[in-house]
């Protein structure tokens, strides 16, 4: 042990000795506390609603909630059916649809089933108005009747491209559901029935492709993706880390101890989440992987130091105390900064990020506490043998690297600086894209089915509650004319597959009431007549459907649903902006407040909302981390300066992403604070050695840099490898949001190492004062000391 012991060192030594003296007690306490907290896991549940991705204060969510309180909620299942013949107007396919429509009423919580077979077709026959199912007894229809059905269905704006494609290649059955929201298994049980019906129909009508999409399938996909991640990713992650540990720590007992520790840390975080009533999403479920990654870093530092000490001939117990001493401060500081980075996620707009942040922070703190209590206690009880050998390892490499950096500091400073700035300028090219079907990869059935269905039908509804002049105003002829104008405008837009508006219903009823005279396929020009048509329409509505699906209760607004094809967020926004512009320009005053809303609208702005809300979070994280750095380095200027080499790699990672990938979902908002908390760790280690080199050893700047390289160079590399592997592994998640976040963070961590090695020293060497790699006064004794501290 060195002669100079700080108060912190003394505390660490005292703590380590106490832990070792009461090691059985420590182990027992750890197990009890862990199991106690982990018992909260029983309260965990999987989220099964896309809504959970939005905070209560999200303005798009609020608008949509209000909309859904006004009109019928459109939670649904959507069967897309494609016959082998390529034309749905045949007896077999229509029989399938007829049978499926009938059977779908039995699906739990179904409110309404719609298809072309039970479409309430209205037509006039002399003075009679006939209301009947468009297709009945489909098996017995003659070819001429089939053609007639085709003509009617394809001419009907309510059906064309919504329940049957204009080219007759695909047909659909839509099941509207409403859950009582009393039990967690409502959705999965319903989905089971929905899939069973599909299987049953496929068996009975061979050759037909049947795929299921709809909001309920999206919701269950979140569950299934999360579940898939838990069952495949986490076990694999343990195996990967096991391999990493074996290579790096080269000790079976060390590996076992570490695995127990990280398992406990994850269990504690899940337990806390359970007590906190968290509904797990695929995002929050990446917390265990992240905790594993970060927790292992703590353990590796301590174990490597201990091994090195034992190699150098130190006795085991003393080596444990020594490892605790030299790592106490850095492990605490890095754990704190990382936890702060994750806690900053609470500023985000998306609750799953809060959960991820809090669960990770809990896990990180738990791992830290265990690494200074449980880990030494456990390891002291296990056999831990190291071949005694003085091995300077690859310190020669780091010495050369240090020399290279010092020699070329100007080139590196300007070269890397310029390269960084060049790459950073590409950031604005990043396109924010949150196409929710594409959150899921091909392993998830929903994604495959959505890809299939998107070939035929639109999938992204955008809703408008088009305001009328006061109560009963939807019958106002001027209103209806404007509504029709808007409907026509929407139909003419790119990527619009269907528009559902009462103006079409009005026209049809007007024609029906005039003996189906085609000249009367126009809007009624009298308010009373329009109101009476609505009454007629209400009277003719089928079971499960009511006027509130289209018109609000006091008839002061009607709903227009625009269904978009599978388009990017940017294209969606273009449509949204155009529609707002149309309303601003064309709508009368009473209609001006009409706004687009829907899940699609919510997701279109989810990235912006989160980036916006994370700005405060990031600023607070940067300040808090800066304060900790000032403390840790005991230097205000160095602490503040350290933010630069930490901020740059994150920005560079975004820049590289912009150049290589181009688009990113809303996870981008989380990356900055999370990776900042992690990348500062390297800087903490490097600069604390640099400072020690200057203050304790009296080196000049160049010498201090070499000292830092030699002492922590290899530990930083090891650390970075673990972190990059852990975060890059998130890319294998079923859920793209995790994959993006993992890859971006891994990129940032990789760049951070490069910057810490090549740029940070160059920064230190800039400015006044001569930086010479000259008369250094290190000796053999110093070098030995260096090696014991290699893992700091």
């Amino acid at each position: 042990m060195p002669k100079t012991m700080t108060a912190m060192d003394e505390f660490a030594v005292k703590l380590a000795n106490t832990v070792l003296n009461f090691r059985w007690l420590i182990l027992l306490a750890t197990v009890l506390v862990t199991f106690g907290i982990a018992s909260g896991g029983q309260y965990l549940s999987f989220s099964n609603n896309y809504r959970d991705f939005f905070s209560e204060s999200n303005p798009e969510l609020q608008a949509f909630e209000e909309f859904q309180d006004t009109y019928t909620k459109n939670d649904n299942f959507f069967y897309t059916i494609v016959p082998p013949s390529g034309d749905v107007f045949n007896n077999e396919t229509l029989s399938l649809v007829e049978e499926m429509t009938q059977a779908a009423w039995q699906i739990p919580h179904s409110l309404r089933v719609d298809s072309i077979t039970n479409f309430q077709h209205t037509y006039a026959e002399e003075d009679d108005l006939i209301v009947e199912n468009l297709v009945e007894d489909a098996a017995d229809l003659s070819p001429a009747q089939l053609e007639e059905k085709r003509t009617i269905a394809l001419a009907e704006p309510l059906l064309r491209n919504q329940l049957v494609t204009a080219d007759s290649r695909a047909i659909s059955v839509n099941v509207v559901v409403q859950y009582p929201q009393l039990a967690m298994d409502e959705l999965p049980l319903t989905v089971m029935e929905v899939r069973a019906l599909r299987d049953q129909m496929k068996e009975k009508y061979p050759g037909h492709e049947i795929k299921i999409t709809g909001v309920s399938m999206l919701n269950v996909a979140f569950q299934e993706a999360g579940f898939g991640d838990v069952t495949t990713m986490i076990p694999t992650m343990y195996l990967i880390l096991l391999a990493l540990m074996v290579v790096m720590v080269r000790s079976i007992s060390g590996t076992i101890t570490t695995l127990i520790m990280i398992f406990f840390a994850s269990a504690i975080s899940m337990g806390v989440a359970g007590f906190g009533g968290v509904a797990l999403t695929p995002i929050s479920l990446s917390a265990p992987t992240i905790i594993l990654t970060l927790a292992i870093a703590d353990a590796v530092h301590i174990l490597i130091t201990m091994r090195n000490a034992m190699k150098a001939g130190t006795e085991k117990r003393e080596a444990i105390v020594e490892a605790n001493r030299v790592n106490f401060l850095p492990v605490m500081v890095t754990s704190l900064t990382t936890a702060i980075g994750f806690l900053a996620l609470n500023f985000s707009d998306a609750p799953p990020f809060w959960h991820l942040g809090n669960m990770s922070a809990v896990g990180i703190v738990a791992a830290w506490l265990m690494s200074i209590t449980f880990l030494p206690a456990m390891i002291s009880l296990m056999p831990f043998r190291v071949a005694q050998k003085t091995d300077q390892g690859d310190n020669g490499f780091y010495a050369k690297l240090a020399a290279f950096v010092v020699r070329n500091n100007k080139k590196l400073f300007y070269g890397l600086g310029a390269a960084a700035i060049a790459v950073i300028t590409a950031i604005p090219q990043i396109e924010l894209n949150d196409q929710w079907t594409e959150y899921f990869d091909q392993r998830i059935e929903f994604r495959r089915d959505a890809d299939f269905s998107n070939e035929y039908f639109g999938f992204y509804p955008i809703e408008f509650s088009v305001l009328a002049p006061g109560e009963g105003g939807v019958s106002d002829p001027a209103y209806l004319a404007k509504l029709d104008e808007f409907t026509k405008w929407a139909r003419a837009q790119d990527n619009v597959s269907h528009v559902y508006s009462i103006s079409d219903i009005m026209k049809r009823l007007n024609r029906n009431m005039h003996a189906d005279d085609a000249d009367y396929y126009r809007l009624p020009d009298d308010r009373d007549l329009a109101a009476q048509y609505l009454l007629l329409y209400e009277i003719s509505l089928p079971y499960g459907l009511d006027l509130n699906d289209r018109i609000n209760i006091d008839k002061s607004a009607s709903r227009v649903t625009v269904t978009m094809t599978n388009i990017s967020t940017a294209e969606t926004k273009e449509f949204l902006n155009n529609s707002r512009a149309w309303i601003a320009e064309n709508a009368p005053d009473y209609m001006k407040a009409t706004v687009p809303t829907s899940a699609q609208v919510m997701f279109s702005y989810v990235a912006e909302r989160n980036v916006e809300s994370m700005i405060t979070g990031n600023i607070i994280a940067i300040l808090a981390i800066g304060v900790i750095m000032i403390f840790a380095l005991k230097s205000t200027s160095l602490g503040l300066l350290s933010i630069v080499p930490n901020g740059l790699p994150i920005l560079v990672a975004f820049g590289v992403w912009a150049l290589l990938v181009g688009s990113v979902g809303f996870s981008v908002a989380a990356v900055a604070s999370v990776s900042l908390g992690i990348v500062v760790d390297d800087t903490v280690h490097f600069l604390s050695k640099y400072v020690r080199g200057m203050r304790e050893k009296g080196y000049d700047r160049a010498g201090a840099i070499r000292y830092a390289f030699e002492t922590v160079g290899s530990a930083l590399v090891v650390n970075t490898v673990i972190l990059v592997v852990g975060f890059a592994y998130l890319a294998t998640s079923n859920f793209k949001v995790n994959a993006d976040m993992g890859l971006l963070t891994a990129l940032a961590i990789s760049f951070a190492l490069i910057f810490d090695f090549l740029f940070l020293p160059a920064v230190m060497l800039q400015g006044k004062g001569k930086a010479t790699e000259g008369d250094r006064n290190d000796n053999d004794e110093e070098n030995k000391n260096v090696s014991t501290q290699a893992a700091e």
Binding site: D69, P108, D128, I553
Partner: protein, 275 residues
């Protein structure tokens, strides 16, 4: 037709007995079922019988629709009903809307059928034309309310199979609980559970189960008053939808009975003459 009245069905015990006898020649295992059926039928029939013989009625009503968000909408309308003695045909009804103003004078004439689609004629004053509406659909919502068309018209005895399930108490009153199963092919319900008090034999509550057997709606019938001739009528009917959290309250004014209405007042020609 629109007042949930019990149809005049002078079914003798002999008829019931005969029907039971015919249907229960099977094993003893069915005997219990049949006993429950018979008791259910008898209770329903007694309730039905208790308010018949009114010949015709007229009443004004206010319909208050409330959505999930608590917003309300009010409609005023009047009902005229002609009771028909023949148990195999339903009553005749005339519904006239008076508010909102833009539908004033809109009238719906209906000749209820027991197991077939009803005959309906609609008059739109703005169009000055009567249209017969042919629709198999009785399960759709009645003018935006939580009442389905069949909820009004389908109280006729012969529209159901019955099953007595036991006794219960409701608001301190003893109730007979009778399940009834719609016989109409296009009904939106698989089952209704009716609560009939043992004092004046009136239906106090009905639970409606949808096509998949889930409790969909509950109707509470309150504010019963007795009119001349021992005819009982509920004056506040509240239908609550358990799935959509919407509800409709129907408040009736004073009934007028035996108002001299006749078949000629329920033909399509009268529709145009309504103010």
């Amino acid at each position: 037709m629109f007042q949930l009245k019990q149809q005049n069905k002078r079914l003798t015990a002999a008829f019931v007995g005969a029907a039971i006898a015919v249907s229960s020649f099977a094993s003893a295992g069915y005997a219990q079922d049949d006993a429950a059926k018979q008791k259910g039928y008898e209770i329903a029939a007694r309730s039905d019988r208790s308010d018949t013989g009114f010949e015709s009625s007229e009443v004004e009503a206010v319909m208050i629709l409330v959505n999930k968000a608590g917003q309300e909408m009010t409609r005023e309308l009047s009902f005229k009903t002609l009771e028909r003695e023949n148990e195999d045909v339903g009553d005749k009804g005339l519904t006239v809307f008076s508010t909102p103003r833009d539908v004033q004078g809109t009238a719906l004439l209906s000749h209820a059928q027991i197991l077939k689609p009803d005959n309906q004629w609609l008059y739109l004053p703005a169009l000055k034309r009567v249209k017969r509406i042919s629709s198999a659909n009785k399960s759709g919502p009645f003018v935006g309310s939580e009442f389905a068309f069949e909820d009004f018209t389908s109280t006729e005895l012969k529209k159901y199979d019955y099953k007595y399930v036991g006794e219960d108490t409701l608001d301190g009153m003893k109730m007979d609980v009778v399940e009834r199963f719609p016989l109409y092919k296009n009904s939106g319900y698989t089952k209704q559970v009716s609560y009939i008090d043992q004092d004046i034999y009136q239906v106090r509550k009905i639970d409606f189960y949808d096509r998949k057997g889930t409790l969909l709606k509950t109707l509470m019938l309150n504010d019963y008053r007795e009119y001349d001739g021992g005819v009982w009528r509920a004056h506040t009917l509240q239908m609550s939808n358990h799935i959509t959290s919407k509800s409709t309250t129907l408040k009736y004014g004073d009934y007028k009975f035996k108002t001299g209405l006749a078949d000629r007042d329920f033909v399509k020609g009268v529709l145009k003459r309504i103010r």
